[in-house]
């Protein structure tokens, strides 16, 4: 029973991870596209006395969307900073309890944010609100992507917590730590080295 629940949650997590990886390309790609747009804007303004008028506004929407999408990737990577002053000094059982508490804290705060973000989105859709600039952007468009990013984050946090609790119940502490534990120094270095090696290694092959 518990084991099949674990398998179900693992499948769900795998799907969430795929979504989050797609988010890297969407969010990161957004930053790259924005940078090139700025280059064109700066050159055109300088040499052709022409401006897109509104690129800064679009940059703001992009930041909200990239930030919200990035929440999840950071969470899956256990990259949201936690203070380990006490965590590092207590036994394993208490550490697991703190890990569960930390994830609950994330769910309560960002769940509340999601709830009120839904109010904001509902209002923007109901009023068909637009931005006051000459772009007159229909606000529910960027807001709904932003909202989806926060929703993905909260769902992922709940799934991670559920899976970790199941793991703890099954006595599988290693899995729980891998999902919601505090990142240790060794793990961070290993991933850092791996990322750089991938970057350089791949490029040597080509």
């Amino acid at each position: 029973m518990t084991a099949s629940l674990a398998r179900g949650l693992d499948r769900l997590l795998a799907g969430l991870r795929t979504l989050s990886s797609a988010g890297i390309w969407i969010g990161g790609g957004g930053l790259l596209v924005f940078s090139f747009a700025v280059l064109v804007e700066v050159l055109m303004r300088r040499f052709m006395n022409h401006s897109f008028a509104g690129l800064d506004e679009l940059g703001g929407y992009m930041l909200a969307i990239v930030g919200a999408i990035a929440f999840t990737e950071t969470l899956l990577h256990r990259g949201h900073i936690r203070i380990d002053v006490i965590h590092a000094r207590v036994g394993r059982r208490l550490q697991s309890a703190l890990d569960v508490l930390a994830m609950l804290g994330v769910i309560v705060f960002f769940g509340t944010m999601l709830f009120y973000a839904q109010h904001l989105l509902g209002r923007s859709i109901g009023l068909q609100s637009r931005s006051i600039s000459s772009l007159s952007v229909i606000l529910w468009v960027p807001q709904s992507i932003w909202f989806a990013g926060i929703a993905l984050f909260v769902v992922t946090a709940m799934t991670l917590l559920a899976r970790a609790i199941v793991a703890l119940l099954l006595g599988d502490r290693a899995t729980a730590v891998a999902l919601i534990g505090l990142r240790s120094a060794e793990e961070e270095l290993a991933e850092e080295v791996e990322l750089t090696a991938n970057a350089l290694g791949e490029e040597h092959r080509t």
């Binding site: 300088r46 800064d56 909200a64 930030g67 990035a70 949201h80």
Partner: protein
Amino acid sequence: MIIAVTLICLFALLFLSIPVAAALGLTGIVLSELFAFMPATRGMGNISWQSMNDAVLVAVPLFVLMGEILLRSGVAGRMYGAMAGWLTWLPGGLIHANIGTSTLFAATSGSSVATAATVGTTAIPEAKKYGYSEPLFLGSLAAAGTLGILIPPSINLILYGAMTNTSIPALYLAGIIPGLGLAVLFSLTVVVACLIKPELGGHPVIVTWRERLTSLPHLIPPLFIFMLVVGSIYAGWATPTEAAALGIIGALFIAALGRTLSIPMIKAALTGTIRTTGMLMAIIAAAYFLNYVFGAIGLTRIVTAFFDALALSPFQTLMIIVAFYLVVGLFMETLSLMVATVPIFTPVIVSLGYDPVWFGILVIMLVETALITPPVGVNLFVIQGVRDKGPISDVIRGVMPFVATLLLAIAIMIAFPAIALFLPGLAQ
């Protein structure tokens, strides 16, 4: 009462190892439920949207991405090698390369986290190889990384300018001399430490003049990016936010010239950027919400009234504010610290006749201190995160001499405001 509840709630949540963003946000919800004169939590959707949808903060992920591209393309590593060639003859050897590379990288990056992570990842493998005392080596990386926000460009200076309506170019100019001066003071700290205890310094690295000269071209990429990011602002081509985006184009260009531009490299850079951005934006969104609750519960007025009631001299008031930043900076993440305090203190300071540009630089130096003081020092975490093994207390022990140096530099800045105000004055 309100202040006591705020501090107890925040520290309890932080020490329970609740993620910093959630700890800030939950503190906001608790304060709102207990004290707010309006149902403040209800505004969270609007506040979160307004704080994350900010055309000025776009510079945050842009600077992180620029650092990632330079790191993953090997440009940062070659920069470090060149710096090492030129600086290792000093007592303290490679540690000066840490400081020099951080200073140069700070001139391209607007973020202390990005500076410390980029230079730290490059430098730490060298420490073992040449037998350096790890604490001092690691401490220098954490401390010199903080130069990222003092030497322009700087996200924190943009944030300060945004919150106080202070000219960002003036702030950038004001940061140059203090930034270079602080780098020199950090190096002097290392020289003094190594003259007292030579074993801190590790084996000397023998470098020939020929090697030094052939390494010089590796220092060109960062200078090129500095010209692009800072130069485009002064030439009247770009706003500070746009300039950060130009930095990315510059970094991609350099990677392409070095033939290290590839899809896997871009993917690695984007992955690193998104992970760091998620961490920073979560903290920023939560900190803005907490700041809004502070307003709603009247904390802002309590602090202002507190200063009015004390009826102190301007200098005494300044000292209290400095002490406040040093104490609260021990515990608080720095972007949230700035967002929560700058709008309160700057009007007080300016009304006492101090210069807002100078105060901006002073705040940045106090924030740099907060970045490397335990228990909550983000740069300490970053350096601990990228090193091999061992307890974080190594990093903390090693950074202490640099904390002392920073305190000295802050005292100098208070005594001689002209250090900051000289360059902006020339530009007027």
